[in-house]
Amino acid sequence: MRTNHERRRAFLYTVYGGAFALLTAVYIGIVTYVTEFDTATGWASALFVLSMLILGGALAWTVKAETSVTAEMLNEIVDRAISGQPRQTGYTESVVSSLEHKVTRYFEMSSTHKQKLDAEKSSIKALISDISHQTKTPLSNIILYSGLLEETPGLSTEARQHAASIRDQSAKLGWLIQSLVNMSRLENGIIAIRDDLHPVIGTITKAVSQVYAGAEQKGIDVRIHCDPGTMARHDPKWTAEALVNLLENAVKYSKPTGGRIDITARANEMFTRIDIADTGIGIAESEWNDIFKRFYRSKETSQYEGVGIGLYLSREILTAQGGYVKVSSTPGVGSVFSVFLPAI
């Protein structure tokens, strides 16, 4: 397009310039011929041609200046439309005015579209909090009554076991609903994550305290290597939740005896890195990407409990804070999950 345009312009200039030179030469020739080679007439016509040339140049210059004014106007029209200011040309028959109308309409349409999306988002937000709120009461009632049922005197052992199962499964359901609600909140950007500069040691300790009982039961040695001064920009509450998911996995996939979990925090130029190294079953390299996907479960883990949202949630939480999580692992030896939190 551009090349065609340039070529056409060069062609037009050549044609006009050529025609002008030819006409001038012919005109001067005729005039001098008619006046039988009178010098004064020759000079006069040369002067005339020269003034015409200057006039023509001035005209061309004016047209060019006008064009650049129009171009600037178009530029301003677009700028005004982007920032939502009122239109400047009003409603006239000019092409510029009609263009401004179209441009303004386009931006109005896209902003209406955005408003619609925002409205949809807030209705999703309302729905999610309704679900989470409305299911809470019946579920805790189920847990409560199954507990009462279990304690009823004169119940057969079998019935007692059934009641206990109901209680366990309900608790699991409660946890699942909470995770799903968190997940959709994170996905829709509904949760406000407040990321300020905090020392990471507090967050790590908080997370470890939630899995410590389970780790002790399995005889796993949990160690934290972290300088109290190591800081990162993060939301302690949510980050602890992400770390709990990683630590729970570390405990779950550790061998029954002699397991060990090392948590190491180090600050670097851009990110503070928290490594969670376990001595568990490990993950094959082909699955390193997949394990962070929603509802993905490795074939190796089918005998373990879980639904496959823990790692997905962790990654969502960390990404929302400008962080990241990755894994490296050797099957049979252990895995290292590395959490990156912005250090500045």
């Binding site: 130029e269 851009m270 997949d290 996907k293």
Partner: protein
């Protein structure tokens, strides 16, 4: 929607029996906003491929379309302008201008193009790369990681269709390399920026959405599927 399309790309050096096939019929496409890593050992043809994508070299056969433009169909002058506006480059050795400070380096390609600087956009990039208090520093006063971050900011400042990174972590230690990779990943998501990176380091490539492996000028096996469901 694909922003980069490579169709049966071939690059041969030499003639007859001594012909060297640097690229031998490469075909793939990259979607808008995708972060793709091209992995291969040295001599696999990955650098040649990147040079073709950026219009730095011409192919023996085949086509490269960036944003629907056949880049080998352009003459040299238009290709230069195309590169300045639509392609952001990040090199292993940063290629910053030593006498300009970080900010001046970042906005240089915009100023070369003669267009006004979108300050808001540039500031967002600088913020995302954690360079806010380094913008007045000369490159010689910045660490390797910081210099590479400035180079990345420069590549993104013009809002290019595609960012091409040639071993961006080649001169950095492994810790900093990891950080630069995470930043590239975040920028690609935050600004919907298409990034194609070449590297010989599999570990580094893990952060990308998709890995394309090439060997002897050909694509090995099928590219891996996109990571992260629903993202």
């Amino acid at each position: 929607m694909s922003i980069l399309q490579i169709d049966q790309l071939k690059k041969y050096y030499g003639h007859g029996v001594s012909v060297v096939k640097a690229l031998d019929g490469i075909t793939f496409s990259v979607n808008r906003g995708e972060f793709v890593a091209i992995v291969g050992t040295s001599g696999s043809g990955k650098s040649t491929l990147l040079h073709m994508m950026g219009g730095l070299d011409r192919a023996t056969e085949g086509k490269v379309y960036v944003d629907g433009n056949d880049i080998f169909g352009m003459n040299d002058e238009h290709l230069t302008i195309f590169r300045r506006r639509s392609v952001g480059f990040v090199f292993q050795n940063y290629n910053l201008i030593p006498i300009l400070n970080a900010y001046e380096n970042i906005v240089l390609p915009i100023e070369l193009d003669g267009t006004p600087v979108d300050k808001e956009h540039v500031d967002r990039i600088i913020g995302a790369l954690g360079l806010k208090d380094k913008v007045r520093n000369l490159p010689s006063n910045l660490s390797g990681g910081q210099q590479q971050r400035v180079a990345i900011a420069r590549a993104l400042a013009t809002k290019p269709s595609i960012v091409l990174a040639d071993e961006p972590t080649g001169n950095l230690d492994s810790k900093t390399s990891q950080e630069v990779m995470i930043l590239l990943k975040q920028l690609s998501e935050k600004f919907d920026q298409t990034i194609v990176m070449i590297t010989h380091n599999e570990e580094i490539a893990q952060t990308a959405d998709r890995i394309i492996r090439i060997e002897d000028g050909k694509i090995l096996a099928r590219p891996e599927p996109l990571r992260g469901a629903g993202r």
